[in-house]
Protein backbone atom coordinates (compact mmCIF):
# COMPACT_ATOMS: atom_id res chain seq x y z
CA UNK A 1 0.00 0.00 0.00
CA UNK A 2 2.65 2.47 1.06
CA UNK A 3 4.78 1.46 -1.89
CA UNK A 4 1.94 2.11 -4.29
CA UNK A 5 1.35 5.56 -2.79
CA UNK A 6 5.03 6.27 -3.01
CA UNK A 7 5.01 5.40 -6.66
CA UNK A 8 2.09 7.74 -7.32
CA UNK A 9 3.82 10.64 -5.61
CA UNK A 10 7.06 10.00 -7.36
CA UNK A 11 5.71 10.15 -10.91
CA UNK A 12 8.48 11.62 -12.99
CA UNK A 13 7.73 14.89 -14.83
CA UNK A 14 4.48 15.73 -12.89
CA UNK A 15 3.91 19.49 -12.39
CA UNK A 16 4.57 20.89 -8.95
CA UNK A 17 1.14 20.98 -7.21
CA UNK A 18 2.16 24.08 -5.24
CA UNK A 19 2.93 26.17 -8.35
CA UNK A 20 -0.33 25.02 -9.97
CA UNK A 21 -2.22 26.04 -6.84
CA UNK A 22 -0.48 29.43 -6.82
CA UNK A 23 -1.46 30.04 -10.45
CA UNK A 24 -5.08 29.05 -9.72
CA UNK A 25 -5.12 31.35 -6.70
CA UNK A 26 -3.70 34.22 -8.74
CA UNK A 27 -6.27 33.66 -11.51
CA UNK A 28 -9.05 34.05 -8.94
CA UNK A 29 -7.57 36.72 -6.67
CA UNK A 30 -6.16 39.18 -9.22
CA UNK A 31 -9.48 39.91 -10.99
CA UNK A 32 -11.35 40.00 -7.66
CA UNK A 33 -8.79 42.44 -6.25
CA UNK A 34 -8.89 44.58 -9.41
CA UNK A 35 -12.69 44.66 -9.33
CA UNK A 36 -12.70 45.56 -5.63
CA UNK A 37 -10.21 48.37 -6.23
CA UNK A 38 -12.37 49.68 -9.08
CA UNK A 39 -15.42 49.78 -6.82
CA UNK A 40 -13.39 51.22 -3.93
CA UNK A 41 -12.15 54.06 -6.15
CA UNK A 42 -15.76 55.29 -6.25
CA UNK A 43 -15.70 55.82 -2.48
CA UNK A 44 -13.38 58.79 -2.93
CA UNK A 45 -15.78 60.64 -5.21
CA UNK A 46 -17.94 63.47 -3.94
CA UNK A 47 -21.59 62.44 -4.46
CA UNK A 48 -22.74 66.07 -4.33
CA UNK A 49 -20.39 67.03 -7.16
CA UNK A 50 -22.26 68.25 -10.25
CA UNK A 51 -20.99 67.54 -13.75
CA UNK A 52 -20.17 70.35 -16.13
CA UNK A 53 -21.07 69.11 -19.61
CA UNK A 54 -21.81 72.60 -21.01
CA UNK A 55 -18.25 73.89 -20.47
CA UNK A 56 -16.58 74.79 -23.76
CA UNK A 57 -19.83 74.19 -25.67
CA UNK A 58 -21.78 76.88 -27.57
CA UNK A 59 -24.10 78.80 -25.26
CA UNK A 60 -27.77 78.04 -25.93
CA UNK A 61 -29.57 80.69 -27.95
CA UNK A 62 -32.34 82.55 -26.14
CA UNK A 63 -34.90 85.28 -26.69
CA UNK A 64 -36.48 86.24 -23.37
CA UNK A 65 -38.94 88.97 -22.37
CA UNK A 66 -37.65 91.70 -20.11
CA UNK A 67 -38.84 91.58 -16.52
CA UNK A 68 -41.69 94.06 -16.13
CA UNK A 69 -42.40 94.19 -19.88
CA UNK A 70 -40.66 95.81 -22.82
CA UNK A 71 -38.54 94.45 -25.60
CA UNK A 72 -37.02 90.98 -25.66
CA UNK A 73 -33.37 90.31 -24.96
CA UNK A 74 -31.79 87.93 -27.45
CA UNK A 75 -28.48 86.11 -27.29
CA UNK A 76 -27.91 86.93 -30.98
CA UNK A 77 -27.80 90.67 -30.19
CA UNK A 78 -24.90 90.07 -27.78
CA UNK A 79 -22.69 88.09 -30.13
CA UNK A 80 -19.15 89.49 -30.15
CA UNK A 81 -19.33 90.55 -26.51
CA UNK A 82 -18.50 88.80 -23.26
CA UNK A 83 -21.83 87.88 -21.65
CA UNK A 84 -22.34 87.04 -17.99
CA UNK A 85 -25.59 85.08 -17.62
CA UNK A 86 -26.74 84.94 -14.01
CA UNK A 87 -29.73 82.81 -12.97
CA UNK A 88 -31.35 84.15 -9.81
CA UNK A 89 -34.58 84.30 -7.82
CA UNK A 90 -36.00 86.61 -5.18
CA UNK A 91 -36.48 83.69 -2.76
CA UNK A 92 -32.86 82.59 -3.08
CA UNK A 93 -30.65 83.53 -0.10
CA UNK A 94 -27.27 82.89 -1.83
CA UNK A 95 -28.47 85.19 -4.63
CA UNK A 96 -28.63 88.03 -2.11
CA UNK A 97 -25.17 87.09 -0.86
CA UNK A 98 -23.60 87.26 -4.32
CA UNK A 99 -25.39 90.42 -5.45
CA UNK A 100 -22.72 92.88 -4.17
CA UNK A 101 -20.08 90.97 -6.17
CA UNK A 102 -22.23 91.20 -9.31
CA UNK A 103 -22.74 94.93 -8.71
CA UNK A 104 -19.00 95.58 -8.35
CA UNK A 105 -18.13 93.52 -11.43
CA UNK A 106 -20.89 95.24 -13.45
CA UNK A 107 -19.54 98.68 -12.53
CA UNK A 108 -16.04 97.59 -13.48
CA UNK A 109 -16.82 96.06 -16.86
CA UNK A 110 -19.97 97.77 -18.18
CA UNK A 111 -17.93 100.17 -20.33
CA UNK A 112 -15.63 97.44 -21.61
CA UNK A 113 -17.92 95.45 -23.86
CA UNK A 114 -19.20 93.11 -21.17
CA UNK A 115 -22.93 92.44 -20.92
CA UNK A 116 -24.71 91.10 -17.84
CA UNK A 117 -28.07 89.34 -18.12
CA UNK A 118 -30.04 88.30 -15.05
CA UNK A 119 -32.41 85.42 -15.78
CA UNK A 120 -35.17 85.19 -13.20
CA UNK A 121 -35.81 81.56 -12.21
CA UNK A 122 -39.04 80.04 -10.87
CA UNK A 123 -40.30 83.28 -9.38
CA UNK A 124 -43.23 85.69 -9.48
CA UNK A 125 -42.81 88.89 -11.44
CA UNK A 126 -43.86 91.06 -8.49
CA UNK A 127 -41.36 89.50 -6.10
CA UNK A 128 -38.61 89.62 -8.72
CA UNK A 129 -39.20 93.33 -9.46
CA UNK A 130 -39.25 94.16 -5.74
CA UNK A 131 -35.97 92.26 -5.29
CA UNK A 132 -34.36 94.10 -8.22
CA UNK A 133 -35.49 97.46 -6.81
CA UNK A 134 -34.16 96.61 -3.36
CA UNK A 135 -30.81 95.13 -4.47
CA UNK A 136 -29.92 97.58 -7.22
CA UNK A 137 -28.07 97.09 -10.49
CA UNK A 138 -29.28 98.17 -13.89
CA UNK A 139 -28.24 95.28 -16.12
CA UNK A 140 -31.04 93.67 -18.12
CA UNK A 141 -33.28 91.30 -16.18
CA UNK A 142 -35.42 88.79 -18.05
CA UNK A 143 -38.03 86.19 -17.24
CA UNK A 144 -37.72 82.58 -18.36
CA UNK A 145 -41.19 81.13 -19.02
CA UNK A 146 -41.21 77.39 -18.42
CA UNK A 147 -37.54 77.55 -17.34
CA UNK A 148 -36.67 76.46 -20.86
CA UNK A 149 -33.54 78.59 -21.03
CA UNK A 150 -32.49 77.36 -17.57
CA UNK A 151 -32.86 73.75 -18.76
CA UNK A 152 -31.01 74.61 -22.00
CA UNK A 153 -28.11 75.89 -19.86
CA UNK A 154 -28.30 72.77 -17.65
CA UNK A 155 -29.08 74.80 -14.53
CA UNK A 156 -29.22 72.76 -11.30
CA UNK A 157 -30.55 75.57 -9.12
CA UNK A 158 -29.96 79.21 -8.29
CA UNK A 159 -27.74 81.05 -8.19
CA UNK A 160 -25.79 79.79 -11.18
CA UNK A 161 -23.59 81.96 -13.37
CA UNK A 162 -22.13 81.41 -16.83
CA UNK A 163 -19.50 83.44 -18.66
CA UNK A 164 -19.85 83.36 -22.43
CA UNK A 165 -16.93 84.37 -24.65
CA UNK A 166 -17.41 86.71 -27.66
CA UNK A 167 -17.51 83.67 -29.98
CA UNK A 168 -20.55 82.36 -28.09
CA UNK A 169 -18.75 79.59 -26.18
CA UNK A 170 -19.41 78.98 -22.48
CA UNK A 171 -16.00 79.46 -20.87
CA UNK A 172 -16.90 79.37 -17.18
CA UNK A 173 -19.70 78.20 -14.94
CA UNK A 174 -20.23 78.56 -11.21
CA UNK A 175 -22.88 76.76 -9.20
CA UNK A 176 -23.77 78.72 -6.07
CA UNK A 177 -22.90 82.29 -5.09
CA UNK A 178 -20.09 83.81 -7.16
CA UNK A 179 -17.33 85.90 -5.65
CA UNK A 180 -15.99 89.14 -7.11
CA UNK A 181 -12.60 87.44 -7.61
CA UNK A 182 -14.19 84.60 -9.60
CA UNK A 183 -16.03 87.10 -11.77
CA UNK A 184 -13.02 89.28 -12.64
CA UNK A 185 -10.81 86.23 -13.27
CA UNK A 186 -13.30 84.62 -15.64
CA UNK A 187 -14.38 87.84 -17.36
CA UNK A 188 -10.75 88.90 -17.94
CA UNK A 189 -10.03 85.43 -19.32
CA UNK A 190 -13.02 85.66 -21.67
CA UNK A 191 -11.98 89.17 -22.79
CA UNK A 192 -8.45 87.92 -23.58
CA UNK A 193 -9.93 85.02 -25.51
CA UNK A 194 -11.99 87.44 -27.59
CA UNK A 195 -9.11 89.88 -28.03
CA UNK A 196 -11.26 92.70 -26.65
CA UNK A 197 -9.12 93.53 -23.62
Amino acid sequence: MSDELGEERGTAGAPNPYSRRAVALAVVLVPVLAFTLLLASGLGRDPSERPDPVAATPAPAFSLPKLGGGERITSASMRGQVVVVNFWASWCIPCRQEHPALLRAWERYRERGVVFVGVNFEDTEEAALAYAEEQGGDWPLVTDPGSRTAIDFGVFGVPETFVVAPDGTIVAKEIGAVSYEWLITEIDSALRRGGSA
Partner: protein, 152 residues
Protein backbone atom coordinates in the same frame (compact mmCIF):
# COMPACT_ATOMS: atom_id res chain seq x y z
CA UNK B 1 -19.46 32.00 -4.32
CA UNK B 2 -23.02 32.18 -3.02
CA UNK B 3 -22.74 35.95 -3.02
CA UNK B 4 -21.52 35.91 -6.61
CA UNK B 5 -24.43 33.68 -7.56
CA UNK B 6 -26.91 36.01 -5.84
CA UNK B 7 -25.44 39.09 -7.55
CA UNK B 8 -25.49 37.27 -10.88
CA UNK B 9 -29.17 36.41 -10.47
CA UNK B 10 -29.97 40.06 -9.71
CA UNK B 11 -27.87 41.20 -12.68
CA UNK B 12 -29.68 38.80 -14.98
CA UNK B 13 -33.01 40.02 -13.61
CA UNK B 14 -32.03 43.65 -14.30
CA UNK B 15 -30.66 42.97 -17.78
CA UNK B 16 -33.16 40.38 -18.99
CA UNK B 17 -36.41 40.84 -17.08
CA UNK B 18 -36.66 44.65 -16.84
CA UNK B 19 -36.70 45.35 -20.62
CA UNK B 20 -39.52 42.82 -20.88
CA UNK B 21 -42.04 45.39 -19.58
CA UNK B 22 -44.52 46.47 -22.23
CA UNK B 23 -43.36 49.61 -24.04
CA UNK B 24 -45.49 52.73 -23.37
CA UNK B 25 -47.42 53.85 -26.41
CA UNK B 26 -49.15 57.16 -25.63
CA UNK B 27 -47.17 60.41 -25.46
CA UNK B 28 -48.11 60.82 -21.81
CA UNK B 29 -46.93 57.31 -20.94
CA UNK B 30 -43.74 57.77 -22.90
CA UNK B 31 -43.11 61.11 -21.16
CA UNK B 32 -43.66 59.46 -17.77
CA UNK B 33 -41.25 56.66 -18.69
CA UNK B 34 -38.54 59.10 -19.81
CA UNK B 35 -39.08 61.28 -16.71
CA UNK B 36 -38.80 58.30 -14.38
CA UNK B 37 -35.35 57.53 -15.81
CA UNK B 38 -34.00 61.06 -15.28
CA UNK B 39 -32.58 62.43 -12.04
CA UNK B 40 -34.06 65.67 -10.73
CA UNK B 41 -31.28 68.32 -10.79
CA UNK B 42 -32.64 69.94 -7.62
CA UNK B 43 -33.48 66.92 -5.45
CA UNK B 44 -30.81 64.59 -6.91
CA UNK B 45 -32.26 61.54 -5.15
CA UNK B 46 -35.65 61.67 -6.86
CA UNK B 47 -36.54 61.11 -10.47
CA UNK B 48 -37.95 63.93 -12.58
CA UNK B 49 -41.25 62.01 -12.51
CA UNK B 50 -41.37 61.89 -8.69
CA UNK B 51 -39.80 65.21 -7.73
CA UNK B 52 -42.10 67.97 -6.47
CA UNK B 53 -39.59 70.70 -7.44
CA UNK B 54 -40.65 73.38 -9.92
CA UNK B 55 -37.68 72.63 -12.19
CA UNK B 56 -38.65 68.94 -12.39
CA UNK B 57 -42.19 70.04 -13.33
CA UNK B 58 -40.77 72.17 -16.15
CA UNK B 59 -38.60 69.26 -17.25
CA UNK B 60 -41.67 66.99 -17.40
CA UNK B 61 -43.39 69.57 -19.62
CA UNK B 62 -40.26 69.89 -21.77
CA UNK B 63 -40.11 66.09 -22.22
CA UNK B 64 -43.75 65.98 -23.29
CA UNK B 65 -43.31 68.98 -25.61
CA UNK B 66 -40.34 67.35 -27.34
CA UNK B 67 -42.16 64.02 -27.71
CA UNK B 68 -45.17 65.77 -29.21
CA UNK B 69 -42.78 67.48 -31.63
CA UNK B 70 -41.87 64.02 -32.89
CA UNK B 71 -38.60 63.36 -31.09
CA UNK B 72 -37.79 59.81 -30.03
CA UNK B 73 -37.46 58.86 -26.36
CA UNK B 74 -33.75 58.39 -26.92
CA UNK B 75 -33.38 61.86 -28.48
CA UNK B 76 -35.15 63.45 -25.49
CA UNK B 77 -32.89 61.59 -23.06
CA UNK B 78 -29.85 62.63 -25.13
CA UNK B 79 -30.93 66.29 -24.89
CA UNK B 80 -30.92 66.14 -21.08
CA UNK B 81 -27.61 64.22 -21.04
CA UNK B 82 -26.14 67.02 -23.22
CA UNK B 83 -27.27 69.65 -20.72
CA UNK B 84 -26.67 67.82 -17.41
CA UNK B 85 -24.22 65.04 -18.27
CA UNK B 86 -24.69 61.29 -17.73
CA UNK B 87 -25.28 62.19 -14.08
CA UNK B 88 -28.89 62.89 -15.06
CA UNK B 89 -29.52 59.23 -15.93
CA UNK B 90 -30.87 57.31 -12.93
CA UNK B 91 -30.01 53.97 -14.56
CA UNK B 92 -26.50 53.86 -16.04
CA UNK B 93 -26.20 53.10 -19.73
CA UNK B 94 -25.59 49.38 -20.34
CA UNK B 95 -22.39 49.84 -22.31
CA UNK B 96 -18.64 50.23 -21.84
CA UNK B 97 -17.28 50.15 -18.30
CA UNK B 98 -20.84 50.17 -16.93
CA UNK B 99 -21.17 46.53 -17.98
CA UNK B 100 -18.34 45.48 -15.66
CA UNK B 101 -20.36 45.35 -12.41
CA UNK B 102 -23.02 43.31 -14.22
CA UNK B 103 -20.72 40.90 -16.02
CA UNK B 104 -18.06 40.36 -13.37
CA UNK B 105 -20.29 38.29 -11.03
CA UNK B 106 -21.35 36.17 -14.01
CA UNK B 107 -17.71 35.61 -14.96
CA UNK B 108 -16.88 34.80 -11.32
CA UNK B 109 -19.74 32.30 -11.25
CA UNK B 110 -18.51 30.64 -14.44
CA UNK B 111 -14.88 30.43 -13.25
CA UNK B 112 -16.00 29.15 -9.83
CA UNK B 113 -18.28 26.52 -11.38
CA UNK B 114 -15.59 25.21 -13.73
CA UNK B 115 -13.03 25.12 -10.87
CA UNK B 116 -15.44 23.23 -8.61
CA UNK B 117 -16.26 20.75 -11.37
CA UNK B 118 -12.54 20.20 -12.09
CA UNK B 119 -11.81 19.67 -8.36
CA UNK B 120 -14.63 17.18 -7.88
CA UNK B 121 -13.64 15.29 -11.03
CA UNK B 122 -10.03 15.01 -9.89
CA UNK B 123 -10.93 13.68 -6.41
CA UNK B 124 -13.44 11.07 -7.61
CA UNK B 125 -12.01 7.48 -7.47
CA UNK B 126 -11.61 5.94 -10.92
CA UNK B 127 -13.11 2.47 -10.10
CA UNK B 128 -14.78 1.12 -6.96
CA UNK B 129 -13.58 -2.49 -7.23
CA UNK B 130 -9.89 -1.67 -7.51
CA UNK B 131 -9.01 -1.34 -3.79
CA UNK B 132 -10.21 -4.86 -2.92
CA UNK B 133 -7.91 -6.41 -5.51
CA UNK B 134 -4.96 -4.72 -3.87
CA UNK B 135 -5.38 -6.65 -0.57
CA UNK B 136 -2.54 -9.03 0.03
CA UNK B 137 -3.24 -12.55 1.20
CA UNK B 138 -2.01 -11.60 4.71
CA UNK B 139 -4.34 -8.57 4.84
CA UNK B 140 -7.28 -10.63 3.63
CA UNK B 141 -6.62 -13.32 6.30
CA UNK B 142 -6.37 -10.58 8.98
CA UNK B 143 -9.62 -8.97 7.78
CA UNK B 144 -11.41 -12.30 7.93
CA UNK B 145 -10.16 -12.86 11.47
CA UNK B 146 -11.31 -9.39 12.60
CA UNK B 147 -14.75 -9.82 11.06
CA UNK B 148 -15.09 -13.27 12.62
CA UNK B 149 -14.16 -11.76 15.99
CA UNK B 150 -16.86 -9.08 15.68
CA UNK B 151 -19.54 -11.63 14.89
CA UNK B 152 -18.96 -13.44 18.22
Amino acid sequence: MLLAAAVAVVAIAVVVVAPGDPAPTTIRDRAAAVASGLRCPVCANLSVADSPSALAGEMRREIERRLRAGQTDEAVRAYFVDRYGRWVLLVPEGSGLNLLPLLFPLAALAVGGVSWWALVRRRRPTTTSEPSTRLTEADRARLDRELEGNRR
